[in-house]
């Protein structure tokens, strides 16, 4: 159904579609489509292609290396590339710390850090959660105390996606233990090569390694690496979380996963199976509702209103819908899903042409998709936000 895109938007959609079709390497696309885990070089190769085109940070202002994309263009770019099987554009630099730096950073910080993000040369990760500060993020206890023109950072961050591949981490640290929890936090940019940092892998339930715990043992960080004011980090953190949530309704991904579901079902002669058809209709209806809710929000944003609880709503529904498609895809595999060994999915062993390993990709994705309802502010936290800000229920 037509949402009334402008001619410019239609032209842009075609440009993104053609570009992705031409430039996305087939091997990477195949990995994404079959749900097998990606390596660092897979992400980097695709992001290098985007960087060359100037599309890594398209929604950034031109003065910082972006393209001044409208909200519609950002949406179209995300939908088209994801639908076509492009890897997730890693958000840590582009979507998270980048906007924080160009909004709150000093000229020096902008000059030092923004070009590396736009050129895809610097790999960032996000240091927010701690073992005792998850949903209650403001209780974080990684400490930073002043020593001359440095901070000395001690503590640990956890659930740090891709820290083992990253060059830098942006981290929330406690600089005042006596203030109220939110009031004693600062936002630091930390070079992961600094002495005193160790990164420990955490294996996820699908058997892959993307999560880590990052330990800081008296790590010296120049005060110049602090964003904005000392003890005002919570403001920047909330700004970042707003950016994080806007991205979360993954229409392109949901549509792509529905297509795979359909083709797997057809291969298994389920195309007329009433249980399959009923589930497919339900999931397709969920995606239709999600898509039009996203379009409504986009229309509001284009009209100049900043997204508020709408972003929480999209996170809530987007994560759930994608999760349910992933699970039902495994259900369609039936007993074929039961042969599963994560070792098979490792780059060196994996044979992309084998059906067995493709099925394992589906299982791997099902397990991995338990994460989106937990990350980015768990869905329970999103409900708290909506309850407070949309319903006025405190």
């Amino acid at each position: 159904m037509d949402a009334g895109w402008s001619p410019e938007d239609r032209a842009f959609r075609k440009e993104v579609r053609d570009f992705t079709q031409e430039k996305l390497p087939a091997a990477i696309r195949d990995k994404v489509m079959s749900g097998r885990p990606l390596e660092r070089q897979d992400y980097m190769r695709w992001q290098d292609i985007l960087a060359q085109k100037g599309w890594i940070a398209g929604f950034w202002p031109k003065c910082h290396g972006g393209q001044d994309w409208t909200a519609s263009q950002s949406y179209i770019f995300q939908e088209e590339t994801t639908y076509a099987g492009a890897p997730w554009l890693l958000p840590f630099g582009v979507n998270y710390v980048g906007p924080v730096i160009y909004t709150y950073g000093t000229e020096e910080q902008k000059a030092r850090h923004l070009p590396g993000i736009v050129s895809n040369e610097v790999f960032w990760c996000q240091g927010y959660s701690e073992p005792n500060a998850g949903s209650d993020l403001a209780r974080l206890s990684t400490r930073a105390h002043r020593d001359g023109d440095s901070y000395i950072v001690t503590g640990s961050k956890i659930w740090t996606s891709m820290a083992h591949w990253a060059d830098w981490i942006f981290a929330l640290v406690r600089t005042d233990s006596d203030a109220k929890p939110q009031a004693g936090i600062s936002f630091l940019l930390i070079d992961l090569n600094s002495p005193g940092i160790t990164i420990q892998p955490i294996q996820s339930i699908e058997g892959a390694h993307h999560l880590n715990q990052v330990f800081f043992d008296n790590v010296r960080v120049p005060v110049d690496n602090r964003i904005g004011e000392e003890n005002a980090g919570w403001t920047y953190a909330k700004f970042l979380l707003g950016h994080e949530r806007v991205l979360s309704a993954e229409i392109g991904k949901a549509k792509r996963m529905l297509e795979r579901l359909r083709s797997l079902a057809e291969e298994r002669n389920l195309a007329r199976d009433p249980r399959y058809l009923e589930n497919l209709a339900r999931l397709e209806t969920d995606v239709l509702a999600l898509e039009w809710t996203t379009l409504r929000m986009l229309d509001t944003v284009m009209g100049g209103t900043a997204p508020g609880v709408e972003a929480s709503m999209l996170k809530l529904r987007g994560s759930t819908v994608v999760q349910e498609i992933a699970e039902y895809t495994v259900d369609v595999l039936g007993h074929e899903a039961l042969a599963f060994d994560p070792l098979f999915l490792e780059e060196t062993i994996n044979d992309p042409s084998s059906e067995l390993s493709r099925n394992m990709g589906v299982v791997s994705e099902f397990l991995f998709q338990r994460a989106p309802t937990i990350w980015g502010g768990s869905n329970e936290i999103q409900r708290n936000i909506i309850s407070k800000h949309a319903l006025g229920l405190g």
Binding site: M1, L277, D299, G303, L391
Partner: protein, 343 residues
Amino acid sequence: MKLTLTQEQSMLADSVTRFMTGKNATGEEESIWREVAELGWLGAGVGESAGGFGGGREMAIVMESVGGNELAEALAPVFVALAILEKSDPEAALISRIISGDVVACGLLPEMAADDSLQLEDEMTSVSGQFHALANVHRARHLVLALPEATLLLSVSDANVHLRSYRGMDGKTKSDLKLDHVALSEASVLSKGPDAVAALNRARVTHAAAITAECSGLAAALFQYTLDYVQQRRQFGQPIGGFQALQHRLVDMFVAVEEVQSLALAAARAATIEDAPESALSRAIAGASDRALHVAKEAIQLHGAVGMTEDLPLGAGLRRLKVLQLVPGGAETQKRRLLQSFN
């Protein structure tokens, strides 16, 4: 993108809502119907060339704004009839008589008919079929049938048209309709072939936009009732809206209402530009009905015992939404059509 309402459309929504406030009492149905015709709202169903002022979006706005009122049920089949007539011949004199409230005509779709009962016979010289639980037909002078082969205009007074009316679950009059070899004159066949298919498509998008808009208006009203209630009802020394167990359920209701609105918007857009796959229309109806029903049942639960009483409009909302689910052409029909369309 132009998804938000224009100023005229917002004014239309406001004026319908204002008018409907306080019009919930039963027994004055006929007078409301006349007032509505006098206000010209039926003109929302057709464009200017047919003497109206609207199209799909305006029609949906009227339906959404009356959602929750008995009037919605009466309006929907008339809007479908208008859409079919406009597509067949925008200058037909009947259109203006319907808009003015002079006569009532109800539009019918093939999927509203009882299984396999609908048949064009003897080289399109007569039609037979059975329909159950039709709304507003007891008032109608005309029936407008959009079939893929032909668009038909029938008179309810025809000796071979049989009506049996009864009280429905939602308190409104329902009618079973039997067409028993109803003879078709030249005048009663409005179009054939591709023109008939086009009229049927128009009828379907209009039907989808109307039903989803009603779900949307109704779900929003039931949610607002509940939200107001939990802020005022106190137990354990505080408003029950302070309890997280209830807050999260209210959030899920809120999200469901938003999604019904999204699906209704998708259907209204489809009715405006008349370009949507049938399966998407079916999904919109099924999805809107499921979500609105969830909201209605939660509304009663969160009110507790008082939600079970006729003092509040919650039961009426549930009954109406159950009708929209089960009525032929409604959500259950659409779900079955979705299963078939893949075959």
